[in-house]
């Protein structure tokens, strides 16, 4: 192990060491990092051994700018915005990887966290090296945050110390928090693959309040109640966050005679309510956290659409439109779209919603 002072000459030494697959410790604006060539499988193996953590736990990598990032990840609009707003800086942006780094750097699901350090020494090293380096913190898993080289050495075993090739000493760093990791992969437009929703008939009404939206839920129940018990009823709800999908379902539930409080199923994925004076059951789904419609099957959707007494309300229905379409003959599917209206001036009352519906 060699320890040298951080200066302009050290850039070259660090680049040489990285090129030889060595494990190099250096400072950033957050903590000391353990850097290896992120495209070199042997070097990454060495890093995994030092960090003493199971294979499959990903490492973030450092690049110099957004152009360099795009060689390794696909950036969606959310990611681009974050690069623009926060980078360079202590933020790691997770995107879908292009699988051009060494095994073990990307997460098991193929995502990769990228960071552009706001620290000249590191960006000089990466620029001269021309390849991304790992920017994982220089402590072994579960050990204290490394703000000086002694923090690392005092908490490393002899075996670990043997793995360290080069340490670049920048003294004690200010005690800043490690970088914040932001995952942008959930914002990928899965919706686009679902194709367009075509309704047989279309009705439209303006809601002026949450109560109004609940009442529309109630009215739609009254309109379709005659089908209940003969065929399963699906209310497929499409609308932005805060549009009132849960409010609609509250009204629907109340009309069915359900007195329990209907709350957002975002976390629980599906909530079940039994109507007290009938055989009808309400299943309230939220597809927001589902990655695709096979997950609807895992939640028991197939069994539900076999049940004539079932009333199914699905928030973020556009995310699972394919499985809903599949059952449009077996079930009565009412597609409900809740939108924020825009007036000529572009300004609308913040409580107003345009609610349209029709049969699928």
């Amino acid at each position: 192990m060699k320890i040298i002072k951080q200066n302009q000459k050290a850039v070259e030494i660090a680049v040489d060491a990285l090129a030889q697959g060595k494990l190099v410790f250096m400072a950033t604006e957050t903590v000391y990092i353990a850097a290896v060539d992120a495209t070199n499988p042997q070097a990454v193996k060495k890093l995994i051994a030092f960090k003493n953590r199971p294979f499959g736990k990903p490492f973030s990598v450092g690049v110099t700018d957004i152009e360099m990032a795009e060689k390794y990840v696909d950036l969606n609009d959310s990611a681009r915005k974050l690069y623009d707003q926060f980078l360079p800086g202590p933020v790691t942006v997770v995107s879908n990887g292009k699988h051009t780094v060494a095994p073990g750097v990307e997460a098991e699901n193929g995502t990769l966290g990228i960071r552009i350090p706001d620290y000249k020494f590191v960006t000089d090293v990466v620029r001269n090296f021309g390849k991304p380096i790992t920017t994982t913190s220089a402590n072994a898993s579960y050990q204290r945050r490394p703000y000086k080289l002694d923090d690392i050495l005092d908490n490393s075993s002899e075996k670990q110390k043997k793995l360290i090739d080069l340490m670049i000493d920048a003294g004690e760093l200010p005690h800043n928090e490690p970088s914040t990791v932001i995952d942008t992969t959930l914002d990928n437009p899965t919706v686009l693959r679902q194709g367009e929703i075509k309704l047989k008939d279309k009705n439209e009404v303006l809601s002026r309040s949450e109560e109004n939206t609940q009442n529309i839920g109630k009215e739609l129940w009254q309109k379709y109640e005659s089908f209940a018990g003969k065929r399963p009823l699906i209310f497929a709800l499409e609308g932005e966050m805060g549009a009132g999908k849960t409010q609609f379902t509250k009204g629907l539930a109340r009309a069915m005679g359900i007195t329990e409080t209907v709350t957002s199923p975002t976390f629980s994925l599906v909530e079940e309510y039994q109507a007290p004076h009938s055989a009808f059951q309400l299943q309230h789904f939220d597809a927001w956290r589902l990655t695709d419609s096979t997950e609807m099957e895992a939640l028991g959707f197939l069994k539900m659409v076999e049940d004539k007494n079932m009333v199914i309300s699905i928030e973020w229905a556009e995310r699972v439109a394919d499985i809903i379409k599949k059952y449009r003959d077996q079930a009565v599917v009412v597609w409900v779209k809740i939108e924020y209206p825009t007036t000529v001036s572009g300004q609308a009352n913040e409580n107003e919603r345009l609610i349209s519906w029709g049969n699928l």
Binding site: S60, T246, S264, F267, A298, G300
Partner: protein
């Protein structure tokens, strides 16, 4: 009294061994801890099914506690509330183990676990003198204010009508382009912001007597505000996060204050649990409120006890064991909509 507890109520698979209220091991397998630096990664439902990792988690909990099945007095499991298919995995495992090793079986409400999580490693005698108390559960799924007459007897005083506090924070984070779930990131961003920069409505202000929490109106107001401020830059994101967090927490404070002022019982203690209770700002505010009314505010001693975990289930189970509240392995069933009015 050693108990092995299992919790598979939602995304996390967890098993713990407790001895009374002492946590001997508390293993939590979540996508978040597996990729701890990548806390925002959304596990797919298949990975949330718990089946493939339940055995590993149980074995590890036993190993870390240096305990063998023969030394256990009982097995406890969360029966609800939670995601039905997820709960089923834990309940089946607990049932199987109870039958195989001929152990007593204890069914625990997940929310009772959160309420009692601050009692971990505490001295029971000290605690028992401290009731009636108030319990506050702030998590991604639940926002509940609970009257704890004594351990084992609860009454829900207020709960959310739509989104839970953690869920509201997650969704607001998403509006700011911070990914989902982003509650923890949100807290970091809010630290750098000015909570007075923008005006957002405190939910149900003046209607505290209705004793409910609601975040749908605030969520909508936030969405409008974010849209009107676009394009966002770093400072705007900090300020918007600070404002939203401030107002979201004020709502909790106001309802809690109303409950304390109007409570006919003499309340000396507040037990706070759930993932959002790990937020430093809310802790500060709750402590301050407690001080004003001479109420001691208790939080779990370890970060692991905040989010979903089996350790807290073990604590609740230890009291049930003392009361002799066991269930027949043939009759135990999950209850995805279990309530805490006992």
């Amino acid at each position: 009294m050693k108990i092995l507890s299992i919790d598979t109520s939602c995304d996390e698979t967890s098993a713990a061994v407790t001895d009374g209220t002492k946590i001997l091991s508390n293993i939590i397998w979540s996508q978040a801890s597996l990729h701890s630096k990548f806390g925002g990664v959304m596990p797919s439902l298949a990975q949330r099914m718990h089946e493939e990792r339940i055995d590993f988690v149980v074995d590890k909990a036993m190993l870390n506690a240096k305990t063998q099945m023969i030394n256990l007095d009982a097995i406890a499991v969360t029966i609800g509330p939670g995601l039905s298919i997820a709960l089923g995995v834990g309940v089946n495992k607990a049932k199987e183990l109870a039958k195989k090793y001929n152990k007593k079986l204890i069914a625990v409400n997940h929310l009772e676990g959160h309420v009692l999580s601050p009692l971990a490693n505490d001295k029971l005698q000290m605690i028992n003198a401290k009731f009636p108390a108030l319990g506050l559960v702030l998590s991604g799924k639940n926002t509940q204010l609970i009257q704890v007459d004594k351990i084992g007897k609860y009454k829900i005083l207020a709960e959310t009508q739509d989104d839970a506090l953690g869920e509201a924070l997650d969704k607001a984070a998403r509006m700011l382009g911070l990914g989902y779930p982003g509650g923890a990131i949100f807290e970091k961003m809010a630290k750098f912001g000015n909570p007075k920069k923008y005006k957002l409505p405190v939910p149900m202000v003046g209607q505290e007597s209705r004793m409910m929490f609601s975040y749908s109106g605030l969520k909508t107001a936030m969405l409008r505000l974010v849209k009107s401020e676009e394009p966002l830059d770093k400072q705007k994101i900090y300020d918007l996060a600070a404002c939203f967090q401030d107002v979201a927490f004020k709502h909790i404070e106001r309802v809690l204050r109303f409950a304390i002022v109007n409570c006919k019982l003499k309340i000396g203690n507040l037990l706070v649990g759930g993932g959002v209770a790990a937020n430093i700002e809310i802790r500060k505010r709750l402590r301050k409120l407690g001080k004003e009314f001479n109420i001691k505010v208790h939080f779990p001693y370890s970060r692991k006890l905040y989010g979903d975990n089996a350790g807290m289930i073990g604590i609740a189970a230890s009291f049930k064991y003392q009361r002799g509240e066991f269930v027949d392995p043939e009759e135990i069933d999950r209850n995805p909509r279990a309530r805490l009015n006992i």
